[in-house]
Structure formats: C-alpha cells, structure tokens
Symmetry: C2
Subunit: 687 residues, 2 copies
Amino acid sequence: MKLARCLLGILTIVILNPMSVCRVSNADEGMWLFNDLPLEYLQKKYGFKPDEKWAEHLMKSSVRFNVGGSASFISSTGLVLTNHHVGSDTLYKLSTPERNIMEAGFLAKTHAEELKAPDLELNQLVNIRDVTGEVKGAVTDGMKPEQAVAARRAVIAKIEKSALDETGLRSDVVTLYGGGRYHLYQYKKYTDVRLVWAPETAIAFFGGDADNFEYPRYCLDACIFRVYENDKPAKIEHFLKWSENGPSADELTFVSGNPGRTSRIFTMDALRFQRDVRMPFMLNGLRRQEILLQQYGLRSTENARRARDDLFGVQNSRKARLGMLAGLQDPTVLAEKQKAEDVLLAAVNADPKLKPLATAWDSIRETTKKRGELQGKGVSLTSSLFSIAMSIAMMAEEDQKPSGERLPEYSEAGRESLLQQLYSEAPIYEDLDQVLLADSIARTLESRGFDDAVCQQILAGKSPADRASELITGTKLKEVANRRKLVEGGLKAVEASDDPLIQLARTVIPEIRKFRTITDQLDEQDKQAYARIAEAKFATQGTSTYPDATFSLRLAFGPVAGYEQNGEAIPAWTKVGGTFEHEEKHKGQADYKLPESWKKAKDSLNPNTPFNFVSTADIIGGNSGSPVVNSKLELVGLIFDGNIQSLTGDFIYSDKQARSVSVHSSAIREALQVVYGAENIVKELGK
Amino acid sequence: MKLARCLLGILTIVILNPMSVCRVSNADEGMWLFNDLPLEYLQKKYGFKPDEKWAEHLMKSSVRFNVGGSASFISSTGLVLTNHHVGSDTLYKLSTPERNIMEAGFLAKTHAEELKAPDLELNQLVNIRDVTGEVKGAVTDGMKPEQAVAARRAVIAKIEKSALDETGLRSDVVTLYGGGRYHLYQYKKYTDVRLVWAPETAIAFFGGDADNFEYPRYCLDACIFRVYENDKPAKIEHFLKWSENGPSADELTFVSGNPGRTSRIFTMDALRFQRDVRMPFMLNGLRRQEILLQQYGLRSTENARRARDDLFGVQNSRKARLGMLAGLQDPTVLAEKQKAEDVLLAAVNADPKLKPLATAWDSIRETTKKRGELQGKGVSLTSSLFSIAMSIAMMAEEDQKPSGERLPEYSEAGRESLLQQLYSEAPIYEDLDQVLLADSIARTLESRGFDDAVCQQILAGKSPADRASELITGTKLKEVANRRKLVEGGLKAVEASDDPLIQLARTVIPEIRKFRTITDQLDEQDKQAYARIAEAKFATQGTSTYPDATFSLRLAFGPVAGYEQNGEAIPAWTKVGGTFEHEEKHKGQADYKLPESWKKAKDSLNPNTPFNFVSTADIIGGNSGSPVVNSKLELVGLIFDGNIQSLTGDFIYSDKQARSVSVHSSAIREALQVVYGAENIVKELGK
C-alpha cells in the first residue's frame, strides 16, 4: 500500500482530513499517539505496559518518508529500512535506461558506491508539545469563516516559525481529534539520503497488481537507505535491534509508523458523500490515469520504464479506493456506523448540556452538499513541469505577504522542504509530461465545461494535445538553473517571464485561489463541527480514544494471527519455499516471474524461512515501511500492505478478517545473505 | 476496429442513430447506397462507371457478420474472408483451456475438421426495396410522440413480417437520411458457419492495443470461415476472385461493407452533447470495464483467456472513442462544422418555403438536453446470464401483444435470430459473469443513487459482490435446456419461475420499460427533426449525398495513398520483412512478440511482399472485414482498421491524413502458403 503522492505545488485532489476522535469498539483497534498510549488496555489484555523509555526509543527509531511512507533506523551507522515501494520514488529517479534500478535492483558494497537520492527528506520525530491552548485561543466565537481560516493559519504559522527558529527542527502543528487538540511535532530532518540496497521489483512486488492487497503473499517489499550528515554516515542513537527469529505465533507485536488518513469520525452524511460522490469521482480519475499510463508505456520498453512508478502508484490507489467503496456499498457495514451514530446522537440530544453540539451534524450535511457541487470544478492540471511553474508563480505572490498570512505550504517554516523539491535534479520526461498534461487539459474541459472562460484560456484556440505540446516544448523550466533564477528574481521575474508554463500558471492562479478559499472555509467549518462531535464523544464515551490518522507517528498493535476466508483457514505465515510454487501456479503471467537471482539461489534458500505474515494491528496507507517490533523492541517485521478486507479500515476497524501484512525479518536477512550476497549489510543490522 | 457488441436483450448503451443525409464536401467522401451509387462522380474523377451487374456482383459477394462486422465470399465453395477480430467472437467461443484457438490459431485441412460456430449468423444482401411511401404514410401530422412511435413501429413490423413470409428472407427496414427514406433490406441468412482457418492473435493483432488505430502496421488480421447449407459447403454464385498482385500505387479501390454508425448530420448542439456529456460518460464506463477485465485476467492464465475477447473489444472502443472525443475537443474541427451549419441555416432562413424547417435545430437542442438529464439513469447490468434472463422475461411479456406493437427486437421477423442467440451453447464463464455483474450493480448504485428504490431492489440488502454471487450461483439459466423450457412455457412459466435472475429481470423490467419509452420518443423526435434537416440539405445542396452509416451495406472508394505526419512521409505500404524489424524494435514487450510459426517461416517468406496498405476510402467501425476490390472486382485487400486521424470520421471526413488500413491480398495468400501450409485453402481462393 502506498500513499498517493501529491503533485508538488498543486492540489490534484483536495483531501479532507477531519483528524478526529475515534471510539475504540474492537479488540486491537487504534492508531495511538505516542504521548497518549493505551497503557491500561495493553496491561489488562496483554500484561505488558510500555514505559516512557520504551516509547521514546521506538519513537526515535521511527522514520517518516516525506514522499508518503514510514521506515526505521536499523543500525547505529544510519541504515534505514523501508519498503521497496516507499523507496521506489527514489529508485525511479535514480534509474536511467542504461541502469534500471527499479527492475534490476541495487547493492552498494561500499559507502562510496551508495547512490545519493536527488530530493529525499526523512524525518525523525524527536519532540511533541501540546499547543492546543494557543491555537484554540486564536479563533473566537462569532468570527466569520474567512476570519477563522486566517486566524488559525496565522497562529499556526507563528508557532511553527518560532519553534523552527528556536530549535532548527522541522516544526509542524498537527490538528488532532478534529480540532479538539493541536500538537506541535518537531522533527530532525535528514536530506542526505543514499541508497544501499534494493531488490528487483519482480520480487519486491511479486504478483504485481493482482496480488496487491491480497494474502497469502510472497513479497520482499524492502529496501535500505543510509542517512548521512556532513558527508559521513550519521551516528544514530536510537535504532532497532534485529530479532533472531521474528515473532512466534500469536505473539503481540507493535507497529510504529505514519498512517496517512482515516475517516472513522465521519458522520453518515460524510460517508454517504464518499460513497455516492467522492469515491466514484476519484475512481474515474484513477482509472483514466491508469489507462493513459498503460497506453504510454505500451509504446516501448523505455516508455514502460518511465511510466512504471506513476502507474504503480495509480494502480495501488485505484485498488485501495475500490476496496473502500465496496465497504461503503455494503449495507451491513454502514448499518453498523448508522447504529453508532444513532446512539451518540440520542445521548447528545438527551443531555441539555450536550444538545447544542448536535448542530455539528447539520453543519457537515451542509458542507458535503457544497463539496458535491464543487466536485471536479477546480482547475487541476497534471504535469511535473506545470506543477513547478505553479509553485514558483504562487510562491512569488505569497512572498509578498507576511508568513502568517500565506497559504501554509508557502510559510517560512516549510520553505526549505519546498525548495528541495523545486530544485530537485530528478529527471522529468518531457514526452510523458506532455501526455499527462494533454489528458488533464481534456479532463478539465470535460469537468468544467468546454466553453468555460478558464478552459478557453488554457486551450488558447488549440486542441489539448497541440496545446500541451506547445507548452512543454516551449518551457525552460526543465533546467533547474532557470527555476532558481525565477525563484530568486521573485515576483518581478515571474511577471516578466515569457515562459509559457509560468504564463499559464499566472493565468489560472486567480481561479485556483478562488477555489482554494472556498474549500479552506469548508475545511474550517468541518474542523469546528468535528471538534464538537469529538467533544460529544469525550463526554459520552470517555477519553480512551485515539484521533484519526494524520500522517504523523502512531502506535498500533496486535498479535500475529491467521483468519478464515470462504470457509478456508488462511495461515498467518507464508514461507520462502511457497514463493516458487506461487510462480509455478501462475505460469506465464508477467508479474509472477521471479528474478534470476532468486532462481539461482533457490537451492541455497531455506524453504521453511517465514516470508510474509499477518497481524491484527490497525494500519492504513502511509504505514508502509513501518517497523514491526516485539515487546523487547526487536525488529521482527516490516509492514508493506493490508489485505483486501482491511480496506474498509478507512472508516471502520475490524479484526475478524482485516489484517496488516509484513515481510518477516528473517526473510529479509536471509535474502540479503543468500540471494544478494550482502554480507556487508547483514553485519551492520541492529548493530 | 470493431463494433462494440451489444449485450443480448438489454441495451447497455442507447445508441442514437439519426441515419441522416451527409453532404459530400471532400474528395472521396461517402458511404454510398448500392442502389444509389455516385456514378457521375466516379466517371468524372476516375473515368470509371460501374454498371448494374458490377454493383450486383459486389453486393452479393459481400457478407455481413451479425456480431458487428463485414466479410466477403471468396470462393464458389462457401469460403468467407473476414478479420480475425471480427471472427474472434467465434474463435473465443470455440476455445477451451486445452485448445486455445485465439492464441494458437487454427487450420482445418479437411471439411471434416472445420469447427461449427455456436451462434454465428451471416447475412448476404440480395435485395433492396424502397418502402418510404408506406412508412412515411403511417405517421401523420399532429400525432403525439407516443402515437408516432407506435405507428412507425407497427408499419415497419408489418412490412418486415410480410416480406419474410413472402420470401423467407431476413427482412429489415432501414431508416435512411434521418427518416427521409426507408428501404427494405432483404438478406439470405447463413447460420451453419464453420471455422476453416485463423492465425494466432499474436500476428493477427501484432502490436496489440498500442498499435491499434496506428500506422504503419503489420497485422494479419484475417480469418476464413465456410458457410454450409444442408450440412454441405454452400454453393456460392457471387464471390470475389483473388487478385494476382494486389493494388498498384494510387490505384482506385472500392470497399464494400457495413459501416456501423456515423454522425455527420449532427447539429452543433448534438456534437457538443457528444463532446461534453456522452463521450466522457462512455469513456468512463469503458475504462472501468477495461480495468475490471484486466484485473480479472491477472489472476491466472485461464482467467486471462476468458477475459481476452471482451477486453479487446473494450480497449478497441475506448481507443476509438478517445480519438473521436479528441476531434470534438479540437476547436478547429468544430469551427468547420459550425461554419457549415451557419451556411445551411442562413439558406434555410432566407427562403420562406424552407424557413419552417429551422425548428428542427430547436428540437434537437431540446432532445440533447433531455438526454443529458437521462445520462446514466437507466438500469444497465452487465452479465451474459442476466441478459438471457432479461430476454426471456421480456419476450414472454411482449409476446402477449401483436407483433406490430412489440418492441422491435421481439417482433416476429426477428424471432429466429433472437432464439439462435438465446439457445447458443457458447460457454459462459460463471466467475467472469459474476465479476461483471457485481461491478455493474455497483455502477448502477453510483449512477442512480444508492437509495433509489430500484437499486435497493437489486441489492436486496446485500453488497454488490454478495448479491452477484447469490444470483449467478443460484440461476439455472446456464443450461440451454432450462432457457428453452422457460421460452416455451411463455409468460406463465416466467411468472412461476423461482430462478433468481428471472426474478431480478421481472423486478427491473418496469423501470427499463419506462426508460425505453422516454428514449424511444426522443429518438422519434430526432428522426423527425433530422428528416427536416435532410430536406433542407436536399433543397439547398442538391441530392448527390449519402446517408449516415446504419450497419447496412455501403460502397466507399479511394486510391491507395500514403500521407504526411509530423513532417514525415508515411508510405502507403508496409512489407512482410518490416514485421520482424518491428518486433526487434519493441523487444521484450508482450504484444510485439511474433508467433513461433512466423519465426520459423522467416527465411521462406518474401520480405518484399506488401503486408498492410492504406487508402482514402471512407470507412468506420463495422467496416472491419470489408473486402477491398479493384475496378475488375478482384479482391486486393481486407479492411481491418482506420488510422488515428480517421477517428474523427464519425462526424467529419478528411482525406488529408485519415486513412483506412487493409491487409494486402498477397500477404494473406503468402502467409497461408508459407507460414501455415494451407495449400488446401489457397487452391480454393477465388475459384
């Protein structure tokens, strides 16, 4: 599973993130805050109570990949373990037609051979501070929506900026419990990140799109980076020891990672909106993108290489969202949500003190209606080069204002990360970019209406294909130096620029701002509504709850456990030997072809080594790459997927069949030794 | 190219077929009626004037594949030549996991080895009669829409039935020139059709989806059937001789086939409706189907085999429609249409006698608006078994009325063809059918709204997947004997049936009827409007016009001619030798892998034999399999595609870059001899 990557600088899809309170109704449900762990529950159910040191060690051993994923430190020498599909953004950028790392894999035998990622930023969470009072204090009753948006934006920018100035740490205010709490998360940043090892995609993603979100699985979805400081391997204090044998059956395990987004607090109106409007719309867009990338890739093997990473991402999203929609379209699932909402509303209405909170549901009904009317009406063009143009043009305008009044992504605190993306030397393939741009112009014509004024400005009298060709051929933003010149020249340089993409960006910015203002206000309205619902939940159900996922560090847990499917017992483990049988069974089909390295190593591998396993831990997209540890904090696995039954986890948790899927620690070690001859890495593991 | 096949018994997509008059504005434009050929134009431009005998011979040598395609008789012994992709419906039905004809190809060395198609019906046009007076007389001024629909339906059913009774021939009244003319087409039917030869899909569709609608091409998109009568090869009087060398450069060629549908008469409002509403909607549906079939196919090689034929059809439609939409989204293309409309309307408004006709444009504006509101609101479930249930249940109800009052597909004249489909022993794969049904239930929930009463009846409290599983597992319609029992038992048997699919069909029929009544009336309103527009055109532009395509026999023509693309000269021909270079260039990609038979034959093949060629003949989907002949009526080629520039041909013809693509007659003969060792067939060709 994989968090869909947002295109730099332009919000392709506005993600509503209510970040709200969730009631624990099932066994091992929960994505818990590291500063508010369910200690009593763990003690009571599992007889294990993590102490502060335990939590701090795990927190600081955990790593966030800014492109959307999780990871962990696995040595004092800076080694970082994550999924192949989390690293793939970098593997792709480091690949060339001659050296296709995505396909062939990679191993650095020495530090000198390690490959520097062009634009990777890793975050290590080192501090959490509650800033609820400060943030809440800034928004007062009676403020108009636009005032509330501005006030909240200003106070958050101020807190982030002063925390950054004070500590030099990346400082993000995270909205939790739907606005019930605001925490300041401070990260140590690593921006010199180098690739150490990656297996072939053929084994990392064995079974391909067909096996994605399925179980049993046989995937070595792992790769290893190393963080550097001052051009030397960073010295890491908190890292995870490698387990000798991995987890035993039913053993309690913990997952420390960054789940991206859940919607468990959603009201029934919000869920119905997802089911009837948002999900079908997004799926249409994803399928469109998928076919487009497939078609582009079919033209040549080099095209296929260029499109592969985007295609994987799109296919992954499509399958995930299809699973979510299937859950929402299951009357029995929504009946359960309806019942819970009825109970809560009844309790609210029965208590005169709580009764005013009931307006929250009306408020959300109102915003979903407005969101429905806005669906697809934004201006959203898919192109890396256009996204760069948008960022540059927008930044130039935003920089005219004080940091606290800017759109958050252009505030002082985030500038460094933004520029790292803008100045990335990662390859951009013009032909692919042109195909994507042409199609997204066509899509915009369809969704906004051909005769719409903005559409006509975008087209400039040409067909989408001709216009895209003209724009991409004409732009000089392919050269990083030209981007830098425009950024440094500021508004004046941007206004004087004759670059066609900069000019197009300036043409559409007014419309994008208009749309953004509306959606920001809807988001603010929802924030206030969900904060009231959170309050109602706290009041009626107590406080042993966790907030919806926010792509910040959380702890999940659960035992290793198989499940039943169509009357069949699905065992918790697969074994390395089964991999070869799985290939045999799917003879002749492309994604079931093991790489040569595995075929050669077949006789040397122990067929009984556990390969993948499942547990009941509560995870979601963004958790990919999360370390799985036992209570002794030894690394026993590496989260890489959820099964198909887990896809409803976006809005409801169940431990009946839903499972998180991990690569077993022993399989990674054995593959490194036996298949890849990476003794150098094995020696460093957990040391 | 391929006509999308309609699912039996249920209109998945309502195709508006205005069947209207087209003005010839370009060189070799036109899909001409065999009883109204452009003799003067041909004489003037090419110095060749076909006589009646010439036309009759070509007409009677032409064959229509009822599944959507064209073909020709190529021997006195009943051999029929068509495209592999037209025959593929049958190749697919004849295939099993053990004998995959689609993949491996097929050759019968003797009559006894020929394989009988389970449900193929071929039509040979033998007679055309003008019945305009009769049909037009039935609809009188002042009739309400529902009365007009009924009156027209009744008179057409009567004409067809009495023609059938009189001659025993299949008799279809075809609406031409948007209702300006009605012709009775009478066909000799062949229903004992046997497969003689088919090459491997790998060479028939070499380059796959990527090369589809592209040029240069290297495809042996051909296969050969034989028609039987009384269990013996039919004796055929009119068939095409095989040309010795095929066409020379710039030689005038003729295409005789059944173009499915064009929309050249469309008003600007109708075109905008296609651009903004209909095409985007259909493309979303096609992409959805494409991904679904791909996903199903990825699970195993057997699944891939089962899904392949549908997948090809969907991909073909998707690419064709995408090309059409691209044309509609090109401002320069529509500007040309707008100009023509302006000129016509000005002429109409300037003439007091014609002025009343101008209301036609308002009428179409009105119907497109209504069609937009209806978009996606019908009940449309995709499942072969459900389609059978629908046909049976609907037929039982319709049979209560006199033939002339029934929905046309249930009239007496069409009964035999309908039953042939219903009683087909062609395999239906339950697992695939279930996947398609589940997805189409989900799609219906999305388009009609989850809480819609009909949706809730369809779901019956279950998720789409569970409901589809229950329905497909529970139905007994897999057995042809059970279908027959229900058909023979009539309404009583249907009403008493506890088959879950029959019950579901009966549940949704009222809604389907409601929707059908509305769309039938819109079609009638359009028919009357386009008839007025046709009248305006006849009056202002003369009568040397042809009607829009109607999946009935037409003659197109044009010289063999290359074209220019991106400054590059694209030659008219490709050669057999280039095929191997094309494979080399796309090394490693699946659809560019030549079959073993071709690799073995490489050294024996003449690399200079022409393989595919292009001409300016005006064709469209449905023309696939059309014979290309020279003025001596010798077979010189086999239409199988149009290039990407031809895709706007649905609504505008151009001979600048748009080309029809054919397999060269010499390539077919050489492949039969050298690659397939089919001397037995070669001896029969043209004899």
